[in-house]
C-alpha cells in the first residue's frame, strides 16, 4: 500500500518535471509522428509554392514522351515519376495538384467540423424540440446517397470550387453532428458539468468552456479520417466532370484520368493515389499524436523515457 503510493507519488513527480518539455522535443521522440509532420510540411510547401514554381512544367506537353515510365532520369528530374498520357511530368503535376486537392479537402472538413460539431453539441445539450429538428434534418441529409446529393447540387449550381467545397462539407455533416451529440449526451451528465453550474456558470458557458474541449479531440480524430474520404469524394465528382474542371488538376482527378491507362501505365493512377493515402495517413498519425499530447492523463506516454517500459509503475520505482 505505502510502496504503491510512494511510487505513484514518484511518477507524479516525474511527470511534473517533464511536463515542461517543449512540444517539438516530444515530436522528435516519436518517429511516426515526426515522419507524418515532415510529410505534411512538405505538402504545405508544395501547396504554397508549387504552382508558381512548376506550373509551366505541369502543363508542358511532350507528345513524343507519352506515358514515360518512372524511375529514369532521361527527361531530367521532373520525369523521375514518369510522364502522363500527354507527356507531362507526373512530379510537376502532383506538386501543382496539391494546392487544389488539399485546400478543397481541408476547407470542406473544416466547415463540416465547425458547423456539424456546433449543431451536434447544441442538439445534445439543449435536447427537446431543437434536438429533434437538428437530428431529423441530419437524417434526411443522410438518407440521400451523398454522391447523388453532390451530383444534383453541382449540376444545378455551377461546378465552382466554392460550391464543391460547400457540397462536400454538407454531405459529410451528419457524422460530426451525430458523434458530437452522442458525446455531449454523456458528458453533460458528468459531475463536473453539475459542479460548474453550481458555481454559477451559465449554460452557454458550460457548453463552450467545459463540454466542447472534451468533445473536440474526438471530432478532430474524425476529421482526419474524413480528410481522406473527402479527397476521394472530390475525385469522384471531378471524374464525373462536375468537380474541379480541367485544366485545373487535383490528385483525385489524376487518379480518375489515370484509370483509363491502368493496363499500360500504372503510375498515372498509382502516384496520385499514393499521395492521397500518405496525406490521409499522416493526418491520422499526427492527429492521434496530438490527441495524446493534449490529453493531460495520456501525455506521460510520450514523456516517459523511451528506453524504459512505458508503464508508469516501472518508471517510478
Amino acid at each position: 500500500m505505502s510502496r504503491a503510493s510512494s511510487s505513484a507519488a514518484a511518477s507524479a513527480e516525474d511527470v511534473q518535471l517533464r511536463r515542461r518539455l517543449p512540444l517539438w522535443r516530444l515530436l522528435l521522440r516519436d518517429r511516426f509522428a515526426l515522419a507524418a509532420s515532415l510529410w505534411l510540411l512538405l505538402l504545405v510547401l508544395c501547396l504554397a509554392f508549387g504552382p508558381e514554381l512548376l506550373g509551366k512544367a505541369a502543363t508542358a506537353l511532350d507528345l513524343r514522351g507519352r506515358n514515360g515510365p518512372p524511375g529514369s532520369l532521361e527527361k531530367g528530374w521532373l520525369g523521375v515519376l514518369g510522364t502522363d498520357a500527354l507527356g507531362r511530368s507526373m512530379l510537376a503535376r502532383l506538386v501543382v495538384a496539391s494546392r487544389n486537392t488539399l485546400l478543397v479537402a481541408a476547407s470542406a472538413v473544416a466547415i463540416s467540423l465547425l458547423v456539424g460539431g456546433a449543431l451536434g453539441m447544441l442538439a445534445g445539450y439543449a435536447g427537446g424540440r431543437l434536438s429533434n429538428l437538428i437530428m431529423r434534418t441530419v437524417d434526411v441529409l443522410q438518407s440521400f446517397p451523398s454522391l447523388l446529393t453532390a451530383v444534383v447540387v453541382l449540376y444545378v449550381l455551377e461546378p465552382r470550387v466554392a460550391n464543391l467545397v460547400l457540397v462536400l462539407a454538407v454531405t459529410r455533416l451528419p457524422v460530426y453532428v451525430r458523434v458530437a451529440r452522442a458525446e455531449v449526451l454523456e458528458i453533460r451528465e458528468r459531475l463536473f458539468v453539475q459542479a460548474s453550474l453550481a458555481l454559477g456558470a451559465g449554460r452557454g458557458h458550460v457548453l463552450r468552456r467545459h463540454i466542447a474541449p472534451v468533445v473536440l479531440p474526438t471530432l478532430l480524430t474524425i476529421l482526419t479520417v474524413e480528410f481522406a474520404v473527402v479527397m476521394l469524394a472530390e475525385s469522384s465528382l471531378s471524374f464525373l466532370g462536375i468537380g474541379i474542371q480541367p485544366p485545373e488538376i487535383t490528385w483525385g482527378l489524376m487518379v480518375a484520368q489515370g484509370r483509363n491507362h491502368l493496363s499500360v501505365a500504372w503510375w498515372l493512377a498509382f502516384f496520385p493515389g499514393l499521395a492521397i493515402m500518405l496525406a490521409a495517413m499522416s493526418a491520422n498519425v499526427l492527429s492521434s499524436w496530438l490527441r495524446t499530447v493534449s490529453d493531460p492523463a495520456q501525455r506521460w506516454r510520450l514523456e516517459a523515457p523511451r528506453a524504459q517500459s512505458p508503464e508508469p509503475q516501472v518508471s517510478g520505482t
Partner: protein, 339 residues
C-alpha cells in the same frame, strides 16, 4: 456554534426548505423522491441531513442548487427560500448571481467533479472568471492563495497540475477551494467524505469546519455517517422516504431520539465496546419510492408500529421549541429535554 456573524433575526433563517416535493417521471412510474421535506438552516450554523441511501437527501441538495434535470425531475410542490429569495422562482440570470457567489457546493466524488482536461488552477480561477472577478493575474494569485488555504502543499507549483495527478483527499480540497472561492454564506456539502478513507475524512471535515468558522458560513451537510454528523453538526434533520421525520439540535436528537427510525439508525452503529457485539441492522429495506406504503412510510420496518401507523400518515409534532418529530407514538424523551 461558532462566533459567526449572525446578522439576521432568528426567525428568518438563511435557508428554509418548506414542504418540498420532487417527483421523477420514468416511463409509467412516478418516483416520489422527496415527499414534503422541511428544514431550516440559520446563518452560521451547520445543519446535517441524515438518512440512508435513497431517502432523498441528495435530491434535496440538488433542488436547492437547482441542479435537477427537468424533465425527468419535477418539483411538485413546496418552496426553497435562501436569504429571503424564492430560489425556485428566480430567473436564470438572477440565480447565477447566487450560485457560486452566495451558495457553494461540494460534491461527493471529487474526481468526476473536476474537468479532466483542465488544470486544477484553471478550474479554481474559473470560479472568479464566471463571476467576472479580477484580472487574469489577480485570479491566478487568488487561486493560489485558496489552494494554500485548503492545505495543498506547494500550491504555486501544483497550480498547473491536472486532477488525475492529485490524490482523492487533495481533489476534495480543490473542490472545497472552488466552493468557498467567493466567500459564500452557505455551503452545501453532499457527502463530502464518502469517497475518502477514514483518516482523510477527518482532515476534510476539519478543513470544512475551520473554513466555516473563518468565513462565517452556514453549512448543509448531507451525510449518512452518524459519527461525522454527531461531531460537526449543530442541528440535524433525519430523512426517511423523502420526508424529514425528526429534526432538532444534533446532540439532543442523536442522544435521545424521539422517532423509532432515528433510534434504529443509532442502534445499527457498532459501538466497539465488546467483541461479541452483534450489529443490529434495521430490518427490511427502504421502501420503493414509486410505491410508498400507506400511512407512515416507516411502519413496515418499525418495531413499535400499531394499527394507526398503517392507516394514517403521522402529523408533524413539535417537541419543545427546537425539536419536531413525525410519528404517531414518539418515543419518550429520557430527560424531557426540550419538552
Amino acid at each position: 456554534m461558532s462566533a459567526a456573524a449572525v446578522t439576521e433575526v432568528d426567525d428568518v433563517p438563511l435557508l428554509e426548505v418548506r414542504d418540498l416535493r420532487v417527483e421523477f417521471h420514468s416511463g409509467l412510474e412516478v418516483v416520489h423522491a422527496v415527499n414534503g421535506a422541511s428544514f431550516r438552516v440559520n446563518a452560521g450554523e451547520t445543519a446535517a441531513v441524515l438518512g440512508e441511501s435513497g431517502c432523498g437527501k441528495s435530491v434535496t441538495a440538488a433542488s436547492i442548487m437547482r441542479l435537477l434535470p427537468q424533465p425527468p425531475a419535477r418539483i411538485a410542490g413546496g418552496s426553497i427560500h435562501f436569504a429571503g429569495d424564492d430560489v425556485l422562482a428566480l430567473s436564470r440570470r438572477a440565480w447565477r448571481q447566487v450560485a457560486g457567489r452566495r451558495i457553494g457546493m461540494v460534491f461527493q466524488d471529487a474526481l468526476s467533479s473536476l474537468n479532466p482536461v483542465f488544470s486544477v488552477g484553471w478550474q479554481i480561477a474559473e470560479t472568479f472568471r464566471v463571476h467576472g472577478e479580477g484580472s487574469a493575474a489577480e485570479r491566478r494569485a487568488r487561486s493560489i492563495e485558496l489552494l494554500e488555504r485548503v492545505g495543498i502543499p506547494g500550491a504555486a507549483d501544483r497550480f498547473g497540475d491536472y486532477p488525475h495527478q492529485f490524490s482523492g483527499g487533495m481533489r476534495q480540497r480543490v473542490m472545497i477551494a472552488m466552493a468557498v472561492a467567493l466567500g459564500p454564506r452557505l455551503l452545501i456539502a453532499d457527502e463530502p467524505t464518502t469517497a475518502l478513507d477514514v483518516t482523510i475524512q477527518a482532515q476534510i471535515m476539519d478543513l470544512l469546519a475551520s473554513l466555516r468558522a473563518e468565513y462565517g458560513m452556514a453549512m448543509v451537510l448531507i451525510s449518512h455517517d452518524l459519527g461525522v454528523v454527531y461531531e460537526v453538526a449543530d442541528t440535524v434533520a433525519v430523512m426517511y422516504a423523502g420526508r424529514v421525520v425528526e429534526s432538532g439540535p444534533c446532540a439532543q436528537v442523536l442522544r435521545d431520539p424521539a422517532h423509532p427510525y432515528t433510534l434504529a439508525l443509532l442502534r445499527s452503529v457498532p459501538t466497539g465496546k465488546s467483541k461479541a457485539e452483534k450489529l443490529r441492522p434495521i430490518v427490511g429495506s427502504p421502501p420503493d419510492m414509486a410505491r410508498l406504503p400507506a400511512g407512515c412510510a416507516f411502519h413496515p420496518r418499525c418495531e413499535f408500529a400499531r394499527e394507526e401507523c398503517r392507516r394514517s400518515a403521522p402529523p408533524r409534532r413539535a417537541l419543545g421549541v427546537t425539536r419536531a418529530v413525525e410519528c404517531h407514538f414518539p418515543l419518550e424523551l429520557a430527560n424531557g429535554a426540550g419538552v
